[in-house]
């Protein structure tokens, strides 16, 4: 816990309390230019009517944009789809990542090679991976359908049927996401003392019991931040959907952020898009706070 020191540590005799600010000024100046100003500008925009037609006649319109966002029915459709997208992506990445990490944490011949191959998706640039997957999903000559054909399964319209297209983007994102979870879990697993499992063995604990009462709680300190980050990233991820389906067919794989991207970039509705982004930010902020609080993720496992 934080203790209030009687004397500020590190302050040399004769030094003024504002010294630290002077030292950090270059960094603060950079932050102000590249982070604080754009952020503040974005917040300001959210309260204005700035758009293509009001490019030079920007007016402050209070909460009009926010009202327009939350009264639009599409918002809730997109919200629902964003949730399905985020939950499926994160659940599958965590489950697959954890499962592989547990396997890799055992005594396994050729472990290093397996690990290397499993990390590979992480090492490939997202852009390249997404475009490769898109080609593999192609109906007539895509690898996946060719394999299905060999297995006498009829080809799947991966990119032209809404449900399949949504499954396709989730598949790609899980493929991109599980190595990160695997590495995080592997790191966590290696820090669990082996004695705990031995003790459980003495008490006659089953494999499930050991997982439920030792592995999972001991992984919590690393998993909670990883899952929080992953949820935020996934919720805000435009790349994969943009590159694989482009939101299609029929905008049926659009999520909240890809919609914001379109209103901002295609329709130049700057004010509206900023308000929309702020709402997404608030949703994620509330989620992150609740999640960390509910799982007490900021505490160590043994506390």
């Amino acid at each position: 816990m934080a203790r209030e020191p009687a004397v500020s540590p590190g302050l040399l005799p004769g030094a003024k309390p504002w010294n630290p600010y002077a030292y950090t000024m270059p960094a603060l100046a950079l932050m102000a230019v590249f982070v604080i100003y754009p952020l503040a500008y974005g917040v300001w925009l959210a309260f204005t009517n700035m758009s293509l037609t009001n490019f030079w006649t920007v007016k402050f319109i209070w909460f009009r944009n926010f009202y327009n966002v939350i009264t639009d029915l599409d918002f809730y459709v997109l919200m629902f789809r964003s949730l399905v997208w985020t939950v499926s992506c994160v659940v599958f990445s965590v489950a697959i990542g954890m499962w592989l990490a547990i396997l890799l944490n055992r005594k396994l011949p050729g472990k290093a090679i397996f690990r290397l191959f499993l990390i590979l998706p992480w090492a490939i640039p997202q852009y390249i991976a997404a475009l490769s997957w898109k080609t593999m999903f192609q109906h007539d000559f895509g690898t996946i359908n060719l394999v299905l054909k060999q297995l006498h399964i009829s080809p799947v319209p991966w990119l032209s049927h809404p449900t399949w297209a949504f499954a396709a983007v989730i598949l790609v994102n899980v493929w991109l996401g599980f190595p990160f979870m695997m590495m995080i879990c592997l790191g966590g697993l290696q820090s669990i003392p082996y004695e705990l499992y031995e003790a459980a063995d003495c008490d006659g604990g089953t494999g499930w019991n050991k997982f439920r009462h030792i592995t999972l709680p001991m992984l919590r300190p690393v998993l909670v931040p990883a899952i929080t980050l992953s949820v935020v990233w996934t919720f805000n991820l435009v790349n994969v959907i943009y590159l694989v389906t482009g939101g299609g067919p029929g905008n049926k794989t659009d999520i909240l952020v890809s919609n914001v991207y379109r209103t901002g970039v295609d329709f130049y509705r700057y004010g509206y898009a900023s308000a929309f982004s702020l709402i997404i930010f608030l949703i994620l902020l509330v989620f992150a706070m609740l999640f960390v609080w509910r799982t007490r993720g900021d505490e160590g496992a043994t506390e």
């Binding site: 950079l30 230019v33 490019f55 007539d140 000559f141 032209s160 482009g246 299609g248 067919p249 509206y272």
Partner: protein, 420 residues
């Protein structure tokens, strides 16, 4: 730490922070310099473009221009089409950015509406403007003003066929169906025709064939018309009869055609070079007439030079004028056309033998006769965005043509209203 050291540290940090902003301020200051008659000053002109293979296309010409005009220095910056649009809007809003921008003419709708470019009717002399094709110039007019100087006209979709698979282009859709039936019987894994089935740019020609258009005279969207329904039905029919693949985007269509798995492709002039590089024996023809209706009318557009609204200084104005006139001279346009294979707008360049006898441009000319200018108003962006999902749903069999047309119209009207 002594007070002096502290002062030095603060000053240094301030310098560091200040130097970040110095780059942005530089161009502005040179512009504000008072006119000095004695020393010839060098005008630095920044030029943004979105040309494919820009260094090959533009750099030799820019070098030639700078050699001939020692007082003008040009910095060329390349952007992808959409990036160029958004970055230019942002830059001008911050009183920055290039003096000259080059890109497709549908920039006019966005730039003129936002007020980031200036009208050019009186910027250039009438004698210069009269050297350019009138239709191309008209394509750059909005609200009665000229906003861009076009250097080429084209971009129209055409029928490109692989002579090894189909010796002659079919004249109408009946002939296409007939060919496809025979072709499919012999080659189960091949297609008669491919095109990008995910973008309405490829649907627009067929809409035109049925006499439809996306806007009426008052620039109101007209997506729910019998013509639109017919165009959607044609797409469904082509798919149902196996003429076109079950799904195909741009890349897939290109791949099928290049691999000899598709006899014909509907694509634009930009793609021809790629087929020739692959040593394919190709022919170019008009998109086949719709049996019982008219000829398809693909969209044509021009690429044009636009001038930032911030160009107000006299020296800069002169430099911009000299530059754009040079880029649209007969000689420059001929050189450029040989590379980009689209019709130059300079009437003299257009009539020269070099252009007229070019095999690709010669064949493309036929399609240009049956084409329609792509609308340049900003609302067109909403049309693309609302038309596209419905086209995809129709082709995927997820919506009936009637419902798709109705939904596209409703969505479009709503989004146009929201844009204001």
């Amino acid at each position: 730490m002594t007070l002096r050291k502290k002062a030095v540290a603060i000053v240094l940090s301030a310098f560091l922070a200040g130097s970040l902003l110095a780059g942005c301020a530089a161009t502005k200051e040179t512009k504000k310099e008072p006119d000095q008659p004695a020393a010839p000053k060098v005008v630095e002109l920044v030029f943004w473009e979105q040309e494919e293979a820009a260094e090959k296309v533009f750099d030799p010409i820019l070098q030639k221009f700078m050699d001939a005009n020692k007082n003008i220095k040009i910095t060329r910056v390349h952007y992808e089409t959409e990036k160029l649009r958004t970055n230019f809007l942002t830059a001008v809003q911050g009183n920055q950015g290039p003096q000259v921008v080059f890109g497709p003419d549908d920039n006019v709708g966005v730039f003129a509406t936002a007020g980031v470019i200036q009208p050019l009717d009186s910027f250039f002399d009438a004698s210069f403007l009269s050297t350019l094709n009138k239709t191309a110039l008209d394509g750059n007019r909005l609200n009665g003003k000229l906003w861009g100087v076009p250097d080429r006209i084209g971009n129209q979709l055409m029928l490109i066929y692989n002579k090894a698979l189909i010796p002659n282009a079919p004249a109408n859709t009946d002939a296409v169906y007939k060919f496809a039936a025979d072709f499919k019987a012999k080659n189960a894994d091949k297609y008669a025709l491919v095109f990008n089935q995910t973008e309405p740019f490829w649907l627009a020609p067929w809409l035109g064939a049925y006499g439809g258009s996306v806007f009426n005279d008052k620039n109101e969207p007209t997506l729910d018309t019998p013509a639109m329904v017919s165009a959607f039905k044609l797409m469904q029919d082509l798919k149902a009869k196996g003429v076109i693949p079950k799904e195909s985007d741009y890349d897939a269509a290109e791949a099928l055609f290049k691999d000899g798995k598709a006899a014909m492709i509907i694509n634009g002039p930009w793609s021809v070079g790629g087929y020739l590089d692959k040593k394919m024996d190709i022919g170019i023809a008009k998109i086949p007439q719709v049996s019982g209706a008219g000829w398809p009318k693909p969209y044509t557009s021009t690429k044009a030079y636009f001038v930032s609204k911030l160009v107000t200084d006299k020296d800069m104005k002169d430099a911009v004028k000299t530059f754009i006139q040079y880029m649209n001279s007969e000689e420059t346009q001929k050189t450029l056309a040989a590379i980009h294979k689209q019709w130059p707008t300079n009437t003299k360049a257009n009539e020269s033998d070099v252009i007229k006898n070019d095999p690709v441009m010669k064949q493309a000319a036929a399609q240009l006769e049956s084409a329609t200018p792509m609308p340049i108003i900003a609302q067109m962006r909403v049309v693309w965005d609302t038309w596209k999902p419905q086209m995809q749903l129709v082709i995927a069999g997820q919506a009936t043509p009637e419902k798709a047309a109705k939904d596209a119209q409703a969505d479009c009207v709503k989004k146009i209203a929201e844009m204001k």
